[in-house]
């Protein structure tokens, strides 16, 4: 079937007839009937799973697909011969901070009746249950993530989106709804912060795509605040498409948006861009009176998303919620929501509130940038590790490319012959803007022990400032050792100080080969791609070889990284000595720390920098829970009474006027007797500290005399 998308629009028409019209235009019946017939013929049964948008926080919210329309679609499926049709979803992030977000309860509260208009019963299923592994490729962003067996096995998979604007992506349609197929609860944490939402969606779409997609745009949710404070607008339309990405593409056009504004949808849209043979049926004019999230606000929301803790703390505070249906689980969130959500959703179409939120978002984004820069420079283990996918097709790399690697790089390594090593053993020179360098270190560890503890095919992952990536072995030798590999590496900005001027994470994808000999192992790598353009070249060779009872490790490299504009604006050629000093310093540091990492890896240490992400379905504890835990811990410590300290600070100071407890008929003012002086905990602590300081000063005086 050629890709097709149909837009059924009829002012005043009921939802059911709009759906029927859209499905008819899109050739739904013919396409699905064929699939149903195949299933019935093969198994005598045909199953369907419909995944509707359920990201609503009030009954009848336009941010969710209309349950009546979904039930109508179920009837259509039953009419086609489907024997078992269910509505499927999973718990999402809001389930962590709201009650009643369990799939079954939420479905009930949003209006699902478990019976179609034609009286056919259907089930609501939680797609986080009965999941299966090995669904996604090992080199992908979703490697290791399980997926619902019901979704995978369904003969018909359908997604029904609401038609709404979105603060994160500009719009949220079928692809956004599709994320509710994924099993982990904190979807923001796992599929937006931790992984790239676009990569996640594209992989999900590739692994188990819906067979048909519907956008319920009968009553839409528009407005500058997106789903956070949805505003209903009657648009009298249903869109049906043979492809979820195509439905989103057209849906975004109808909003008057560049469809690629959505980071979640963009990678999938590139693959589904309308091409020859695609049929687009129906009007493409933008909805009259439609209000989008402004581009600046999208950018501000993206900035805040980078600050994971702040983003997780703010979302519950800003979301408009019917708290009768969905009470807050934590009183602090309830209080914050009562205080801030009305402000954040205020104004025409939520515009005033959205601007206020955007300003806060930008501030938080800047704070995050400053924090990240601090982390790169001074506290690398406070940074979060990077998770990503391999961004080249393993099948596209030829044997010839692997085979040529060692010879290509070995001849380049020769170019350092004759270059004198400096006092710290570094040799280097410039070559076409790149730096050729090498350095060696002898470790007093027997070769077999060293090579056994440090697998050479992982050598790049032990290098200084390696922040994450993904490797895929593409060839093994007879002993099961990796001899060919593809690898994507992310490193902190190089040199680290460029982080101050907006230095990028170095993102390089490499092809690699490994050679093994009894007393020598070598790994070669060559850059084939830099996703963000941060590297021109990052090729290298690492050698482990036996040297007597020791192991000698040599690292050779050819590197050229792009500097951020601020640093690039400084013409370093005007100060060649400074440039040489900076280069030498950078490579001394790189080699020293890389060799230290290799030594530590040989000890069995984990040398990866940064904090790992939680694998728990709920992610990390919510910030409000962490804050409550911290407050609980402080006063219980026994040595620091926070409440007492606060009370001591608030206690009337000596000399402040006492307040009368009574004024009698004669005008005399009566006071309570002053309490006996009891040393406060703060006073005792201060007096102890002063005594300690006096003693310390005495020690210092003695040491100097």
């Amino acid at each position: 079937m050629d890709p097709v998308v149909a837009i059924a629009h009829a002012p005043g028409a009921d939802a059911g007839s709009l759906l029927d019209r859209a499905l008819e235009l899109a050739g739904f019946h013919a396409a699905m009937a064929e699939r149903v017939a195949q299933a019935l013929s093969a198994r005598g049964a045909c199953s369907a799973v419909v995944v509707p948008a359920m990201d609503a926080f009030a009954a009848d919210s336009p941010a969710a697909a209309d349950p009546a329309l979904v039930e109508r679609l179920l009837d259509v499926l039953f009419d086609l011969g489907v024997t078992d049709a269910v509505v499927g979803s999973t718990r999402a992030t809001a389930a962590l901070w709201l009650e009643n977000r369990d799939v079954f309860v939420a479905a009930d509260l949003l209006g699902y009746r478990y019976e179609t208009p034609a009286g056919r019963p259907y089930e609501v299923v939680d797609l986080a249950e009965e999941v299966r592994g090995d669904v996604f490729p090992a080199w992908g962003a979703l490697a290791g993530t399980p997926l619902s067996g019901a979704w995978l096995d369904a003969d018909l998979r359908l997604v029904v989106a609401a038609n709404r604007t979105d603060e994160d992506d500009g719009y949220a349609l079928c692809l956004s709804t599709l994320l509710s197929v994924l099993p982990l609860t904190d979807k923001d944490y796992h599929y937006r912060y931790r992984r790239d939402a676009g990569e996640v969606t594209a992989e999900l779409l590739a692994a188990a795509p819906p067979h048909f997609a519907v956008v319920d745009a009968v009553v839409s949710a528009h407005g500058a605040a997106g789903g956070r404070a949805p505003h209903a607008l009657r648009t009298d339309t249903v869109i049906a498409a043979s492809d979820a990405a195509l439905a989103d593409y057209i849906g975004a056009l109808k909003m008057g948006l560049d469809p690629f504004v959505s980071p979640l949808a963009a990678p999938s849209l590139r693959a589904a861009r309308p091409a020859a043979g695609t049929r687009i049926l129906g009007p493409l004019e933008a909805w009259p009176g439609w209000i989008n999230v402004e581009p600046g606000m999208l950018a501000a929301a993206a900035a805040r998303r980078g600050f994971v803790t702040a983003d997780r703390a703010l979302r519950p505070a800003l979301q408009q919620v019917d708290r009768e249906l969905f009470p807050f689980r934590h009183p602090a969130n309830d209080w914050m929501n009562r205080t801030f959500a009305p402000l954040a959703g205020a104004g025409d179409g939520g515009a005033d509130g959205a601007r206020l939120v955007a300003a806060v978002n930008l501030l938080l984004g800047e704070a995050e940038r400053a924090g990240t820069t601090w982390g790169v420079l001074f506290d690398k283990d406070a940074l979060r590790r990077r998770e990503t996918r391999l961004n080249i097709d393993p099948a596209a790399v030829t044997d010839a490319e692997y085979d040529a690697l060692a010879a290509d790089l070995s001849i380049q390594a020769e170019l350092l012959r004759g270059v004198a090593a400096d006092a710290r053993g570094l040799r280097w020179r410039f070559d076409d803007g790149a730096v050729l360098f090498d350095g060696a270190r002898r470790f007093p560890v027997p070769f077999d022990a060293f090579a056994g503890a440090v697998p050479i095919h992982r050598a790049i992952q032990f290098m200084n400032d390696y922040a994450g990536g993904r490797a895929l072995a593409t060839g093994l030798d007879a002993e099961g050792r990796v001899v060919r590999q593809l690898e994507r590496n992310l490193y902190l900005p190089q040199p680290n100080y460029t982080a101050v001027g907006g230095g990028m994470v170095i993102d390089v994808t490499k092809i690699e080969t490994v050679e093994y000999a009894p007393r020598r192992q070598r790994m070669f790598w060559k850059t084939v791609k830099s996703e963000n353009g941060s590297a021109v070249v990052d090729d290298g060779i690492v050698t482990f070889e036996a040297l007597g009872e020791d192991t000698l490790v040599t690292i050779w490299g050819r590197q050229q990284f792009r500097l951020p504009p601020l640093w690039a604006a400084l013409d370093r050629e005007l100060a060649p000595d400074v440039k040489r000093a900076l280069v030498a310093d950078a490579y001394h540091r790189f080699l020293d720390r890389t060799f230290a990492n290799l030594e530590a890896a040989a000890e069995g240490r984990d040398v990866r920098l940064g904090r790992s992400w939680s694998d728990a379905s709920e992610g990390e504890p919510l910030p409000v829970e962490q804050a409550a835990e911290l407050l609980k811990r402080l006063p219980s410590d026994g040595r620091f009474d926070l409440a007492g300290a606060v009370k001591a600070l608030l206690r009337p100071q000596p000399g402040s006027a006492p307040q009368p407890v009574r004024i009698d008929a004669d005008g005399f003012r009566h006071f309570e007797a002053a309490p006996a002086a009891v040393p406060s905990p703060l006073g005792t602590a201060m007096s102890g500290a002063l005594e300690d300081l006096r003693h310390a000063a005495w020690v210092d005086a003695g040491a100097q005399s």
Partner: protein, 361 residues
């Protein structure tokens, strides 16, 4: 001999267990319920679960033993309330002595501390005849150890049991479930971005020698006597410089004043309270700046105690710590271990393998 080691999973306890096993003795280790036991993994010993503060839990462990080594006490300047330290030290010791007496154990070797002998503001060496004053300004740990020794001495006389007091100095080395103040001397210097040293000094001993010293005292120690189990007396600058050389880290860059150390300790404690991670130094430790914790182990040496040089003790400690989580990844990335450290690690690994295989080293 048949021996019970209380606190068998502590720094001294774990090394003492190894020393006893190596000597062919029959060892029972007393550990608290739920205690981390990774440092005892694979060793041929009987584990008894109990608590020195729960007298009823001790009888089974003590029964049939010839010697009890009582090492179980919290050595800490952070994370323990002063009353808890005192209770564990005093009540715990009294409970162990009572259980030992009831079981007919003739001898208890009790791990005290050289800090009970006091310290000096001058570089002078103290021996077992010196005493620390009951200065309320002393840290809770020091006061607890003084009280422990006093109470144990009285109880031993009353119960008619031989008690020998082992007074280890700053004992560094391998097999620590948690990072105590002794090994903390090494890690805090390596983690200090300012590379500070300070006035005063300390006696550094290998915890392996301290363990061997305990066994020696069980055999030859005079009842009621204290024995310093020390190593070498060094200034803090020498200690830090040695650690730096062994770990391939920069040498001390400056000597911090006592006032500066106190201010840093206050800041570190504040950071620790906020982050939940232990401080690099505490105010209790800062109050020790300028003092010389220097001791003579001549009395133990007369029995045959022969500790290794401090440098060898520190090399073994660096070898253990550099591979542990007690040294952060970032700190480790700035280190380059000396050949001595690698050799110490290899030697320990070889010994450990032999021990686990049940063969004499």
């Amino acid at each position: 001999m048949k021996a019970l080691v209380t606190g068998a999973n502590g720094l001294i306890g774990a090394n003492l267990v190894r020393e006893l096993v190596r000597g062919g003795h029959e060892v029972t280790g007393l550990v608290r319920p739920g205690a981390a036991l990774s440092v005892l993994e694979g060793l041929p010993l009987r584990l008894a679960v109990g608590d020195v503060l729960a007298p009823d839990s001790l009888a089974g462990a003590v029964a049939g033993q010839e010697v009890v080594f009582h090492t179980a006490v919290a050595f800490s300047y952070w994370g323990h309330a002063p009353d808890d330290l005192a209770t564990t030290a005093t009540d715990g010791s009294l409970n162990v002595l009572a259980a030992a007496a009831a079981a007919g154990v003739r001898r208890v070797v009790m791990t005290s501390s050289s800090v009970t002998l006091g310290a000096s503001y001058r570089p002078e060496v103290r021996d077992e005849d010196a005493r620390a004053e009951d200065d309320p300004g002393e840290s809770a740990y020091v006061l607890a150890k003084i009280a422990q020794e006093r109470a144990a001495r009285e109880a031993a006389e009353r119960l008619g049991i031989e008690v020998v007091f082992a007074c280890p100095t700053m004992s560094v080395g391998a097999f620590a479930n948690r990072l105590g103040p002794s090994n903390g001397v090494v890690t805090s210097y390596l983690a200090d971005p300012f590379r500070l040293t300070w006035a005063g000094g300390c006696n550094i001993a290998s915890v392996r020698d301290v363990a061997a010293g305990h066994v020696l005292l069980a055999r030859r120690g005079e009842p009621g006597a204290c024995y310093v189990l020390g190593g070498e007396n060094l200034t803090w600058r020498d200690i830090h410089s040695t650690v730096a050389r062994l770990a391939g880290a920069p040498p001390p860059a400056a000597q911090a004043s006592a006032v500066g150390c106190y201010a840093l300790a206050v800041a570190e404690e504040a950071r620790a309270r906020l982050t939940g991670r232990p401080p690099l130094a505490t105010r209790a430790q800062a109050r020790m700046v300028g003092r010389y914790y220097w001791y003579s182990h001549a009395r133990a040496a007369a029995l045959g105690y022969a500790p290794r040089p401090a440098r060898a003790a520190l090399a073994d400690a660096v070898a253990w710590l550099s591979a542990s989580s007690h040294v952060s990844r970032e700190t480790r990335a700035g280190m380059r271990l000396s050949r001595e450290v690698h050799a110490a690690r290899l030697a320990r690994q070889t010994e450990e393998r032999a021990l686990l295989q049940g063969a004499p080293a």
